[in-house]
């Protein structure tokens, strides 16, 4: 299992479009991908409803956790998406 901390760049947070793009990205990997909020809430990055209701906003700190055969690639891709996606 791999972990890395990131800060959300998107000014609208991980909602509609940025959120659904994130789900699409996470689904490309076999590994499980979770986002862990500072309050401990664990969000499945492959589930759009979980992403939406987790209310993740611009500037929030998240721990990205991946587990599986391609966990390294998944971790890098998801972290770089969260750190750079703007809109």
């Amino acid at each position: 299992m791999l972990e890395k901390e990131v800060i959300v760049k998107s000014i609208t947070g991980l909602h509609a479009r940025p959120g659904s793009d994130l789900v699409q990205l996470a689904l490309k990997y076999e590994s499980e991908v979770y986002l862990i909020k500072t309050d401990g809430k664990k969000v499945n990055a492959k589930e759009i409803f979980e992403i939406l209701s987790s209310n993740i906003n611009c500037g929030d700190k998240l721990k990205v956790q991946t587990n599986g055969s391609d966990s390294q690639e998944a971790l890098e891709a998801v972290c770089s998406y969260i750190e750079t996606r703007e809109g």
Partner: protein
Amino acid sequence: MEYFGTKVGPGLGIGKVLIVENVSLEKIPEKLINSTTDEKKKLKDVINNVVSDYDKIISEVQETDIKDLCQFYKMLLLSPSLVAELEETIEKYQVNAAGAIKKVLNNKETELSQLDNAYLRERSKDIQEVRNKLLRKLIGVKELDLSLLSENTILVSKEINPTLLLSGHLKYVKGIISEIGGKTSHVGILSTSLGIPSIFGIENISEILEDNEIVFVDGDRGVVITDMTNEDIKKYEVKIAREQEIMSELKEIKDIKAVTKDNHRYHVCINTGDLTELNKVNEVGADGIGLFRTEFLFLNKITPPSEEYLFNVYRSFAENNKNKVMIIRTLDIGGDKKCPYIDIPEEANPFLGYRAIRYCLDNKDFFKVSLRAMLRASNYGKIQIMYPMISNIEEVIKANEILDEAKDELANSQIPFDRNIKVGVMIEIPSAALMADTILEKVDFLSIGTNDLTQYTLAVDRGNQRVSKIYNYFNPGVLKLIKMTIDASKKYSNKQVGMCGEMASDPLGIILLVGMGLDEFSVNISRALKVKKLITLLSAEDCQKITEKVMKMTNEQDIEIELDNYAKKVFGKYY
């Protein structure tokens, strides 16, 4: 009649009203009659059908916004946990497919609508949209087919659902009017990006208007005009045709600078206050953001926004507008706009009450959070800070002291910021205009907010129809205050005066303001190109002469006639 609402999609449109009825989906029976296996199959079929509808749209339409939205809806429908939950619900509650769809998606919608986030609350509407689409499909309701329209149409509804706009057959859709919805709703975002003039939030409008009556939609002003004579209709049609021709011409020259014929350069910036407008400065080739309203970051929230959140929003805007000025106005809030964590009691007169800088100065720690966010963002772009509602010099001094404290705190923590950050004052209270020269000793720039300055000077509420005709920024008293403010800056070589009210985009206003030597025109995005073009048609020297003449006049009618005659001459078809 004129009906005012929220400006959503800019532009002008005229056409026949088509009332879009919202089919009631609440009465669909939910009782389980067939076997649960049958219902589960029905459920899968309807989901697959709707998904393939979205796929069809994605492959057919050109607009990326529509494609993205359909993609998002598809994502919602294909979520594995959703399907599992729907199937469980059929079993557990012994309901049919419709019953499960309602139960599960209503829960999800409620969950989102209760979150402390305006954007997510709008997304709960998306879930409603997907729910309704599934239900309509299930009971075989035919969607309104816009491809059948054959003449210019204005869609009117209690609430327009996005599906309607997704078909892409929008050739004859010339406007949208609805009772519910905001600028950040999907319909709002879509109609803006598709360029459909749209006005939302007009109470009962779907009952007031009738099918086939002709209405005019002015998305730039947020007004719907009805009961027009044939001459009116002609007049508006001509206006729309001319406006379209001009707009397409202007888009070709979006990078022109606002330089007069005799080589005086003016800055044309945009007013914004909305996350959807992040990249708009470049789209219209503006010189920057002349007014960044911050209220949207504070309203509709249960707790105050964090410094980190504000900083990230400001930084994103600053980085997207590299090397261009961005003037952030500190919070302008009062008893008329409610925030649960801001304790401003109900007031008889909120516009003369406890608001904006008055509240912020009394709540120093709260104010400092915003200032620190702005300062930190100034490390990433040309940010400037502006105080609203200043009525005396003491307020400026106090605000600057708090700003200095914020700077010291950052410096002590070795957090980078622009140490020479420029600070300005919004001139919207007559006393501030009269004291402009003294205020300029304490700050780097002024920005005239004509809408409030006019209301406060003439003591008139423009929303009150009995007195609204008194509201006029060409009133000689208002003009004197404006001129006084601009003149005050001329004593300094390095201090600027801008304007961020409606007058700055009024062709007649522009003549006077060029004549008075205003440095910066900050206008709504939809007006920026036109303002630049108009300035290029003027000569500053001639405008000065006109201004001298106008300033001797004693009533606004004479002033407007004088300017109107001149405008016809110099602006030609652009007027």
